[in-house]
Structure formats: C-alpha cells, structure tokens
C-alpha cells in the first residue's frame, strides 16, 4: 500500500517538475546566450496549447499515428514510477529492476522510431534511422555502467543500489563509481537527444534526429510527444543525480521522508538541468558520424569502471 503511495508521489513529482526543469534549462541557456527567453512557465504553456489543438491525419495512415505519442508518454510515466526519484521504497512485484527499466525506456524509443517511419516521408525515416543507430550504440554503455555499480551492491534493482550507496558514502568517490557515472551522463545525453548528440532546438534539416521524427505530428500528438520526451529527461537525469548524490532520498514512505525527498530531488534535478544547459551553451553538435566515437568512448569508460571494480574489491 505504501509502495503504491510512493509510485503516486513519483508520478506527481515527475509531472510537476518536468515543465519547470525544461523551463529552467531553457532560461539558463537563453540568459547565457544573451537572450531573455520565454520564462520558466513557457514549456507548460506550450504543452497546454498543443494539447488543445487538433491533430492532422494524412490518407493511408495507421493507428500508429495516434498510438505512438500516447505510448511514448506512457513509457515515460512508467519509467518515472520505477526510477527512485524521491524514495527507495519500490513496488514489491515490480521492483524497478535495471533491465526492466531499460526495456521500458526502449519501448518509448521504439514508439518514437515507428512514428517517424509511419508518415513515409524522407525526414521521418532519416530521423528514425539515426535515432535507432544511436539507441543501439548506447545500449552497451547503459548495461555495462550499471553492471559496474551494481556489482559491489549485488543487486540490479535501482532502488537497492541507491539505498546502498547512500548508506556507504565512501563508495561514491571510488573510481568505479565515478567512471560509471560519467559514462551514464553520456548515456542520458544520447538517449534524450541533448547536445552534442542532437540539438533539441534545431530545425536545421541535416542535423535533426528527434525533431525529424516528429515533424509530421501536430496538435495534441505533438503535445504528448514533447511532454513524453521531457519526462524521459526528468527520469534519467533524476536517476543519475540520485546515483551520484544519493542523499535525501527517502528510505520509506513517511511524510517527512517524502517531503525531504521531494525537496532534495527537485533541487538536485534542477541543478543538474541547469548545469547541463550551461555546458550545452559551449558545445557544438557533433557530426552524426562522430557520435559513435563519443559513444565508444563512454563504453570504454564503463568497461574501465568494471575492470576497476575487479582491482578495487
């Protein structure tokens, strides 16, 4: 029962903080670039506007057109429910096992890629192809870096890992953990389409990945797609933040614990987002065929982290 409460808190937290996170990131970026920006509430207003508008349908479209945006949104919501954002109390029958979490994430990825192909336009296919290549190459890093940090804990359940790390702060600074966290940051950047892998605010034809897939969508379809993608960022960024700095995450479902968890979670998430946005200002997008080098680099970090685990313990 309390676990269901925690899931509800996670969902509410993710839904509430996501527009704020995106707003903060955009504002930080705008200020650093010398613009005033749309304000922290702008993403929220954007989504509400999009959701109220009618979507379009071309002849020959399939149910994928309307199902994919909702599926992406559902995948992101389940992801936020399973990742220990606020509390490490997990559902007993769905404990947020690493591989389950990754596969839920991949379901969203696949929904998006199929949507890109659905319209049958060149841009959609191009975005979908690039998106899947990046997703495929990220996969080894994801599993190996979590393997590295799950090894010492002896469990692949994310909430158990986060709890163990907060109980043993010394383990946060050993090379195993640091290398794995760096590798995971690259993963988050690649999976959520941030610079230097993809530019979330570009509409420049040849560099688009995420934008190319959703070009043909409009109205509430686009609203769900945008919000779903943002939620993914929240969940993944929150996960990395809680792995790197596991303090403040509630071990149970007590009121105080949850309040502290929500407060520290929000602070960590917004700081991480602001940091990411600030770094992005100084980065240019990589050429698509340089991206595999970045991902190979992150794989090497993850592998080093695993080897370090062998040397350290």
């Amino acid at each position: 029962m309390t676990a269901i409460l925690v899931v509800l808190v996670h969902l509410a937290f993710a839904l509430a903080i996501t527009p704020v996170l995106i707003g903060v990131m955009r504002t930080v970026r705008a200020r650093l670039e010398g613009r005033s920006g749309g304000g922290i509430g702008q993403p929220w207003r954007d989504v509400l506007k999009l959701l109220a508008k009618e979507p379009l349908r071309a002849p020959g479209s399939t149910p994928v057109l309307s199902a994919a945006p909702v599926l992406l949104m559902a995948s992101s919501l389940v992801l936020s429910a399973l990742v220990p954002l606020v509390s490490t109390l997990a559902l007993p029958s769905v404990p947020g096992d690493l591989f389950v979490v990754v596969s839920v994430l991949l379901l969203g990825t696949v929904a998006l890629a199929l949507l890109g192909l659905e319209s049958g336009t060149a841009f959609g296919g191009m975005g979908s192809s690039r998106h899947m290549v990046i997703a495929a190459l990220v996969e080894p890093t994801v599993l190996l870096s979590i393997y590295a940090i799950s090894g010492p804990v002896g469990s692949s359940v994310l909430s158990v890992i986060v709890a163990a790390r907060s109980a043993d702060p010394a383990s946060l600074l050993n090379p195993v953990s640091l290398l794995a966290i760096v590798a995971l940051v690259v993963v988050v950047i690649a999976e959520t389409g941030r610079l230097p892998v993809d530019n979330p605010s570009t509409h420049l034809e040849l560099t688009m990945v995420h934008e190319a897939m959703i070009l043909e969508s409009g109205g509430r379809d686009l609203g769900w797609l945008e919000f779903g993608s943002w939620l993914r960022l929240t969940a993944l960024l929150g996960l990395v933040a809680n792995l790197a700095v596991p303090f403040g995450v509630a071990p149970d479902a007590s009121l105080v614990g949850l309040l502290v968890g929500v407060a520290t979670g929000a602070v960590k998430l917004l700081l991480a987002g602001a940091l990411l946005a600030a770094v992005e200002v100084f980065l240019a997008k990589l050429r698509l065929f340089r991206v595999p080098e970045l991902l190979a680099g992150s794989f090497v970090l993850a592998f080093l982290s695993v080897s370090a685990a062998y040397l350290v313990f």
Partner: protein, 670 residues
Amino acid sequence: MNLVDAGLFAQLCLAAAAILLAVFAPVGHRNLAAGIGVAALGVVGAATGVTALLGVQGAGLRVPLALPGFDAIDPLTLAPDRLGGFFLAIVGVVVAVAAVFGIGYAHGPVASRTGWTAFAAFALGMQLVPSAGDALTFLLAWELMAGGSTVLLLADHAAREPVRRATLWYAVMTHLSFLLLVAGFGVVIAASGGTTWSRIAATSINEPLASGAFLLLIAGFATKAGLVPVHIWLPRAHPEAPSHVSAAMSAAMVKMGVYGVLLVVLRLLPMGPRWWAIVLVVVGAASALYGILQAAVQSDLKRLLAYSTTENIGLIVTAIGVGLLLRDSGQTGAGDVAMLAALLLAVSHAAFKTVLFLGAGAVLHATGERDLDLLGGLAARMPWTASAFGVGALSAAALPVTSGFVAEWALLQALVHANSQVDRLIAVVLPITMGVVALTIGLGLLTFVKAFGIGFLARPRTPAAADAHEVGPTMRAALVFGAVVVVGLGLVPGPLAEALATAVNAGGVGTVGATGLALGGFGVLLHPLALTLLTGAVLVPLVAVNFAIARRAPRRDVDLTWGCGGERTSPRMEYNATSYSEPLVRVFRGSLRASRSVDVVRADGAPLLVEEMAFTQETVDVIEDRLYLPAARGVRRFGDFARKLQNGSIHRYIGFSFAALVLVLLWVAR
C-alpha cells in the same frame, strides 16, 4: 507402455498416415488432408514432449539389431529424457503451426505429393532426433530430417534459379555437419563400447580423446545451428525455402543443433575442462554479434530473419557457455540461471521466429515480394499479419511483455549476479559478454524496428504492395496462434521456467504470484503481469484524457500533413530499408562491406544532363567472401588441374599406364 512410449508410437503411425494422405488424397483436398495429418503429428509430438519434460520416463521403444560378425549391438532406442522432451515439445508445436499455415500457403510443387511427403518425413525426423536414446537412432533421424528438408528446399527449383544454388549450399553444409557428427560419435562410441547415451555417459573418456570428440561434435552441431563461421547456408536456404518450411527450419530444425550442444556438454561429456566453456562463449558471442550486424543491413525480409537466427542461436550458445563456466567455478546459482536462460531463449526464439517467418510468408503470398525496399503500407491492408508480425518483432527485439524479454532478462541476470571477482578469466569474460549481449540487443531493436516500420508502415512503395490483401483463414489462424504464444510466454513465464529448470538441473527457480518468475538464488523476480498492470494503470487515465481532448478537437483529415513542405511525395522519396541501415554500414565499415554501384544514363549530346540514375547496394557476407569463396576457388583450381590430366586422349592414358608401370618396376627393383 506408458504415455511417452504411446506418444512415440503414435508419432510413427501418424507420420505414415500423413504420408498416405499426401499420396492418396484427391488433388483439391491434398493440402487440407496432408496439412491436418502433419499438424496431428506435431500436436502428438508436442504432447509427448511435454509429458517427458514433466519427468515421465518410458521404457522406450527399442528395435533390436543384429549384424553378422558383431556380438552385441545396442538396440535402436527412442526414449526422450527431460531435455529431449523439451526440444520435442518445441518441434511439435512449430511443426503443427507451420503445417496449418501450409494448408493455405502451399501451392505449386510444395503442394505436390512429394512436397507433403517430404514435409511429413522432415517433421518426423525432427521429432525423432530429440527422442533418440542412442547415437545410431540419432544419426538416422538426423539424416531423415536433413533429407526431408533438402527435398522441400528444392521444391521450387524449376521456377527459380537461386533455389538450386541455395540447395547446393545447404546440402553441402548439412552433410559436412553429418560427417563431423559421425566422426565425433565414432570417437565416443569407440571409447565407451556402446551406442546408447547411458552407456556413453557412464564411461569416463580420457582427455585427448574427449576433447577431440567435443570439438568434432560441437563443429557438427554448430553447422546445423548456423553459428559463425558455418552459418552461410542460413541466409541462402531460408529465403529460398517455402515460408512455412523456413519457419520449421529456423524455429525447429536449427534448435536440434542447440539440443546437440546441450546433449554433449550436459549428458555425454559432462565435467569437461574449462576451455570448452570458453569455446562456446566465444563462438556464441561472435555469432550473436555478426548475425545481428548482418541482419540489420539486409533488405530482403527473409534473409534478415535468417541472419537474426544466427544471432539468436549465438545468444543461446553464449548462455550455455556462461552457464558451464560459472558452474565450473563453483557459482552454481548463477550458472543454473544461465542454463535456464539458454532454454528460455530457445523456446522464445522458436515462438517468435515461427511468427516472423510465417508473417514474411503471408507478405510474400499477398504481394509476391520479400524485398523490404519494395514493400510498405501493409499495416493498413493486412492488419492481422501486421499485428502478429509486430508482436513477433517486439519479442525478437527483447521488449516486454514478450517471451524474448523474459529470456534475455534471465541471461542478463545470470551475468550481473555472477561474482566476477573469483578469478581473472571470469573477470574478463563476463563484462565482455555483457557488452556483446547489450550491443546485440541494441542492434536487434534497430533491425526489427526497420523490418516492421519499413515493411508495414509508411506508404506502399510499389503497386504490388498497394494491392496487397489479407491472407486466408488458416494462415491467419497460424499467425494469431503464434503471436498469442509469444505474448503468453512473456506474461506467464514462471511455471514454464520452473519446468525448464528441471531439464538442466537448475535450482532456485520458482514461480511468484502464480505467473511471475523468481530467481530465488539471488532474490530477484520478474513479474510481467504486474508490470502490465502498472502500465495499464498509467495508460487508462492517459487514454481517458486523450479522448476527452479528442472530443473537443477531433482529428482532421488532410491530403498532406507537412510532407517536407512539398507536394504529395512520390513513394520513391521514402526512406527504405537500404537507407535505414546506411548509418550502420558506415559505423561498422570494418565488418560490414557493401558493394555499391551507381548507373547514370546521360542525355545525348549533353553529358552534364542526367536522364536516369540507378543506385544498387548489396551487402557482402565478409566470412563467405574471405573464407568460403577462396576455398571454393582452390577446389576449382584443383579440378582444372585434374581436367588437364584427363583430356580424353587415349595416347595420354596409355602414357600414364606406362609411366606407372615404370615407376612400379623401379620400386620393385630397388
């Protein structure tokens, strides 16, 4: 006579009945009659297999043998153990589904008397291989299986030239496999003095002999299983075979290679040295990675599926290798889970590959095309096929809630929970295996998004695809049944896993909450039903909100949503399978080679004006190119040389005789 024995006997009778039906049924009803006969054979096989898997041991069917000059020969025996029962069950279900599909699908030479007779013989051979209790029966059944499948593969040879070449490759490789097996079994039989599995298992064979037998047998089984570098018959034979036969070959026959590997390492030659496990891990991981890389860049749908079979079998063999390695280093818990993962991968692959090949067959039936570059838009025209193929593709990509996800989850759990700090070898092997499995999963995702998205979504790329129609009721029934099995195994993995664990002596595997899978050894559990409920709980309000908004702002139909800002785009401007995998060809240009050609037709008198342009790309199987073609060239060169000796001139032959005579005289007079 108990249930298993009765089932075995019934299979022999049903195979004979199916052949009689195939031969004597009137032409108009032959498909139906023979199809039902073979399906019944499959169903009885499956039931027998399940009974044996649950631990019922029969006395076995025996045929005594007597040969002049030999005192005692073990009788031919049919007596499946739990492991054999498991594989018999897989084969039975696949055969039944493929036969039902064949009722609507088979036409032309495949629907002839020969075609259905060969199918019945092929099915019987596959069902007898895992039931065999001795090497001789095993090899006889193996040849029945090989012979039946070769005839089926050759069925359409008169109409299409590639069929003949594919059959040649297949016949050569399958006989290579047989010869290796005869040699391998010869070594163990000579060392143990008997042909039955129990006699061989009871003898401890000395080291150089045991390792020799291991290598021979594994090479033979790997050839059947389609592992790298002896996989090359798969991408040739699977596309050319009739689709229900490809399904049976890929989902069931190839599994016999896996059964063989398990038979060797678990039953006949247990307690082998450590490097045996490493051999399996290396071969398996190389196959998995190479197979999925090749699959990702194929545009022929059935060729793509064939390469993906190499990948899946590679994963299974990797899991077996990891299991052996971990058991050898004393980590029984993780080793057991890896072994269980191998069986789960096998059953899951059988389920989804049947659906995928039958789906490809339905597409071929409806459009006459299997090249993804010429398909598209089929989801709107063939909703049943598209849904079933989609479920199969989800499973092949190892996504929840399908059988593929459960199986790969178990494999990854075994890798994560193995203590890699035991020694240096394991500390290196496990992370690399993890990386390979992860990359395989990632590329598998890309491959099947491509297969489904390019083939079934988008707009039709050719008139054939635009005129596609949904297939008939038997084919639809087979597809839907397969898809239901895929989802069922994914939703309710617990009881199945518990039964499978007994087949490989794995402990600590249990059911949780009636359907979920619990690995008691490390206290982890997978509860797909609960995950589905959680997703449903999220999805219901989401869909409700979506509907509420949709009532106020309904979807509007337009000719073109945005369409790159152009007029209605021509289908030729769509992204196709070749362009979809282009980034991958670039990224892996070391191991994937594509030969491209651009043909430009220029205007008369104005060389700068291009009238027509054609681009073709073919991906090259590097192993075939570097290993087999040079070998084939060497054989041919030897043949050319031999032909020079034999030019038909009588003078030359007299000269040879004379030279031989002189040589003999010189040797005698020495």
